[in-house]
């Protein structure tokens, strides 16, 4: 935030004042609290990560062969470092995810601004529809866009041929991957930035305008700098999530022989025999890259104040665009058409059409080719319903347990002076860097030997999901928590409230949109998560992501699409329900931004 903006918004942090967080707590309690959090994170994050590192430093399965010091070597890293194909995959990952992130930021930010800060018509509907890509598993997104944009058989190219345009789309390419990454991860940026824009006091912008700043200058020097943490958090999260995605590069990059790190890692685990130790070494490289990015993010944000929610009540300001509001409406409709309507149409065609060979446009409308056969076959399989029920249960457990843990961590690291909070923050960030395909086997290695009946239950899946997505959830929550001015808590303390009382009566209600958004995000991510499910599900705990992969690997795109539609509808209904529940004190971030 530059000096001008800082002087304009007039909000200062209040650290150092009497009654600051933690002052009323006995120091030993603070140490105990930090110890409890570190113990939980040690079990969820450090232990599996250590198993992963052990895997990367040896050539054995630590559970089967055990580990001795003599086994430890840097052999896997030397092999990986000396393999030019790893460098090619790394470079491709950087280009695809970097390009995708830039596109996601451009779209997500613009979309958030249109929905939150303008009087564009139908914006609530636009906001809801714009979140739909979040419900679509990446594998399905890739398949949908392959159906649309394949150079040989893509539906868009069939239409172009029909109307006599010689140019063809080719999504089996690096630009194709960047495009699909960008549009599918724009909602991440949108979620962060829309929440921040909504929580921002409009008097800050009004002050800028009264001082003579133009709307563009106000946006550039006040609005966007104030929501910089949200933009950077959304950007970082999008980038690292893209780095770990397999489905999109597998469907769009592989046919063009463009390997990225995840497809390379997947191949290492799928080859016969599997090369998990080498995959672990590649994953460690990915961790280092992500670690550097997180460090860079913290350097950028260090020493700046982004407090935007103070004690004064306000309503988000909607900019009156006049007739231009129809232009923003038009752009939003084009975005929705590209991101939601076209791929959904492709999935609908795939789900209802007997076979996906489409000779020409007239054959696309041959109704004899359509029916319910894929849905009938899908529900004939008892595992389909079992997987749906299990996924809902595990999603709920993950959202509740993960939400509580993330709030505890987020509050501790952003609003208290608890000891070791920097270490807690760093440990929390670790899982974001590890691809699910690799961390899945690390969870198996780490937790299979635990006494008791945890292995083979839904709880072990939920624990893995909580661990895997704790960085996403904490980041989503921290953004909301960072925006709440400390004077609100101080007021509660002055009125005699204790620490917990203040959290429940002041912080939690104010951060409620962020909490609901974080738990909803956790629920969605848990439902979609494949990598860690693959090794932890048992015969009684089949989940939807594994079942979906089974259908895809069975080569039946029709059932895959049908199951994806069922999954999307279920998630849509559940999220709509969640948002209904969260209405009242605060509007749901996911529903309306």
């Amino acid at each position: 935030m530059d000096g001008q903006a800082a002087s304009l918004h007039g909000v200062q942090t209040t650290s150092g004042r009497a009654g600051a967080p933690g002052r009323t707590q006995h120091p030993s309690w603070r140490w105990i609290w930090s110890g409890v959090l570190i113990a939980a994170l040690a079990f969820l994050v450090i232990y599996p990560t250590a198993m992963l590192l052990l895997g990367a430093l040896t050539t054995t399965n630590p559970v089967v062969e055990g580990v001795s010091v003599a086994d430890v070597s840097l052999g896997n890293f030397l092999t990986v470092a000396g393999n030019p194909n790893v460098l090619i995959a790394l470079a491709n990952s950087m280009i695809a995810c970097g390009g995708g992130t830039l596109l996601a930021v451009a779209i997500g930010l613009a979309f958030a601004w249109v929905v939150v800060r303008t009087n564009t018509p139908c914006k609530a509907l636009i906001a809801s529809a714009g979140m739909l890509p979040l419900f679509v598993p990446p594998l399905v997104a890739g398949v949908a866009w392959a159906i649309l944009g394949s150079p040989r058989t893509g539906l868009i190219n069939l239409v172009l041929a029909k109307i006599g345009i010689p140019w063809r789309f080719d999504l089996y390419s690096m630009p194709g991957m960047i495009f699909v990454f960008g549009i599918y991860y724009a909602p991440y940026v949108y979620m962060f930035t829309a929440a921040a824009l909504r929580n921002m006091d409009p008097s800050l912008e009004e002050a800028a305008e009264i001082s003579g700043a133009s709307p563009t200058r106000t946006m550039a020097t006040v609005t966007f700098p104030l929501i910089l943490p949200a933009i950077i958090s959304g950007m970082l999260l999008s980038f690292v999530v893209m780095l770990g995605i397999y489905g999109i590069p597998a469907t769009l990059g592989t046919p063009a022989n463009i390997p990225v790190l995840t497809t390379y890692i997947f191949a290492l685990t799928a080859w016969s025999p599997p090369l998990y130790n080498t995959a672990a070494a590649v994953a460690v490289i990915l961790m280092i890259v992500t670690g550097l990015l997180v460090y860079a993010q913290q350097r950028v944000l260090a020493g700046r104040s982004y407090t935007t929610v103070a004690g004064k009540a306000f309503r988000p300001r909607a900019l009156n665009l006049g007739p231009w509001r129809f232009l923003t409406l038009g752009l939003a409709i084009v975005y929705l058409l590209v991101v939601v309507v076209l791929p959904s149409l492709a999935l609908l065609i795939a789900a209802f059409r007997r076979f996906l060979f489409i000779r020409d446009i007239p054959s696309l409308f041959d109704m004899k080719q359509y029916g319910w056969q894929h849905f009938i076959k899908m529900f004939d399989n008892p595992l389909t319903v079992t997987s749906i029920i299990n996924s809902m249960k595990v999603g709920l457990i993950t959202a509740l347990v993960g939400g509580v843990l993330a709030f505890a961590i987020g509050y501790t690291t952003t609003r208290t002076r608890a000891p070791l909070k920097r270490i807690i923050d760093v440990i929390t960030t670790i899982p974001v860097a590890i691809p699910g395909l690799v961390i899945g086997v690390a969870y198996l290695w780490a937790w299979i030997g635990l006494p008791g009946g945890l292995y083979g239950t839904l709880w072990i899946l939920a624990l893995a999901f909580v661990a895997r997505f704790i960085p996403d959830t904490v980041k989503a929550l921290s953004t909301s928590l960072m925006q709440i001015h400390k004077e609100l808590e101080e007021a509660a303390w002055i009125c005699g409230r204790g620490m917990l009382g203040t959290v429940f009566s002041v912080v939690l209600p104010l951060a409620r949109p962020g909490v609901v958004a974080a738990m909803t995000l956790l629920f969605i991510l848990a439902i979609r998560e494949l990598g860690s499910s693959l090794f932890l599900y048992s015969s009684g705990t089949m989940v939807m992501a594994v079942q979906l992969l089974g259908y895809y690997e069975g080569g039946n795109i029709g059932i895959t699409a049908a199951f994806s539609l069922v999954q999307m509808v279920l998630l849509g209904v559940l999220i709509g329900f969640t948002n209904l529940l969260s209405r009242g004190a605060a509007r749901g971030v996911v529903r309306s931004g």
Partner: protein, 350 residues
């Protein structure tokens, strides 16, 4: 297991290290014999009530097999865990080491991998053990419940002059990405096919075929889908991926090539730790019986490792076509070096 069948099995296993199998089958039987398990096994399986199947086969295929099994034996609930070959082996090894192996039966397409974990399996042989081709067996504990076979598939809407032999796949008229290929390191079935190509079709076959610039796919299932959609016109594929689509009327056809049919017998067995051993034995006995193998052939388009097929497999002409199964010793020893050669020849980045 009877003394006779055990002797027959051991005698059969003595032939494993011999040359690769290249045979014509005996003529198929008029009808498969009905599977009649011993009443005491049925009663014991009823008491078990359920079993857990770990498999690397396609889940839809296995679900169909489970449905057919349950029509005969509805009192055994089969719960399935499915994973790709490498992931399944990792899971089995880790669970076994922790004393938590859940599987009552393990099905795996890579016999080399199951052979490596042979110690985990209990002694088992089906009642008709002596009827199996010795060259397809790698251990007295492991049996080919599934025998997958390679065919040449194409989309008739896209390809008007389809290839008729493996050698046709080296012709430039099918160049420029018309052919799709599964990468050789993908698993035991593909490794079998690439061995066949080099050993039977010639040392230079890969180079000639790679010169047509085929599109490479990570596994057979997405490739079969790509053929149906017309993304690629032609592909060598396992018939058990193609045949159900053909029966359903999809735009895909297939032939067995005259130079030989590479077959990949699975290595399936019952772990020592099985909690439902009788249900597992009933499952294995039924699968390996003529009745079970006939279902595998007719419903899924598989071959069989029985010396005399219980029914004539679809597309197979016993007068002209020969089965090919690799020498198991070579299957294990040539693996790494030949895959490296294949990757280099096809420009696959491993």
């Amino acid at each position: 297991m009877s003394l006779l069948s055990r002797r027959a099995t051991l005698a059969s296993l003595g032939a494993i290290a011999s040359a690769p199998l290249l045979v014509r089958w005996n003529p198929a039987k008029a009808a498969p014999a009905k599977f009649e398990p011993k009443p005491e096994l049925v009663e014991a399986a009823k008491k078990d009530g359920e079993m857990v199947l770990y498999t690397a086969a396609f889940p839809e295929v296995m679900q169909d097999t489970i449905s057919t099994f349950n029509k005969r034996f509805p009192f055994v609930r089969v719960r399935m865990v499915r994973a790709s070959g490498g992931q399944l082996i990792t899971r089995v090894q880790s669970e076994a080491a922790a004393g938590k192996l859940e599987a009552d039966v393990l099905d795996h397409s890579d016999r080399g991998q199951t052979k490596n974990i042979e110690d985990l399996f209990a002694e088992y042989a089906p009642p008709n053990a002596a009827d199996y081709m010795p060259e397809t067996l790698v251990s007295p504990k492991l049996w080919p419940t599934i025998t997958a076979s390679w065919a040449i598939a194409w989309n008739p809407e896209v390809v008007k002059n389809p290839p008729k032999s493996w050698m046709d796949l080296t012709k430039q008229e099918y160049g420029d990405g018309q052919i799709g290929q599964v990468i050789a390191p993908s698993g035991g079935t593909t490794w079998t096919r690439v061995m066949f190509e080099r050993q039977v079709l010639g040392e230079d076959y890969w180079a000639k075929q790679a010169a047509t610039k085929p599109k490479l796919y990570p596994s057979g299932a997405p490739l079969s889908d790509a053929v149906v959609r017309g993304e690629v016109g032609i592909a060598p594929l396992l018939l058990n991926i193609v045949y159900p689509k053909m029966k359903a009327g999809a735009p895909i056809q297939a032939i067995y090539a005259p130079e030989g049919i590479p077959i990949n017998p699975y290595g399936s067995g019952i772990p020592k730790s099985a909690k439902h051993p009788n249900a597992a034995r009933l499952w294995m006995d039924w699968n390996l019986s003529e009745e079970g193998q006939a279902d595998s052939i007719l419903a899924q388009g598989n071959m069989t490792s029985l010396k005399t097929p219980p029914v004539n497999p679809p597309l197979y002409d016993p007068k002209t076509e020969k089965l090919w199964s690799p020498n198991f010793e070579q299957y294990r020893t040539l693996h790494d070096a030949w895959l490296a050669d294949w990757n280099k020849t096809y420009g696959y980045r491993q």
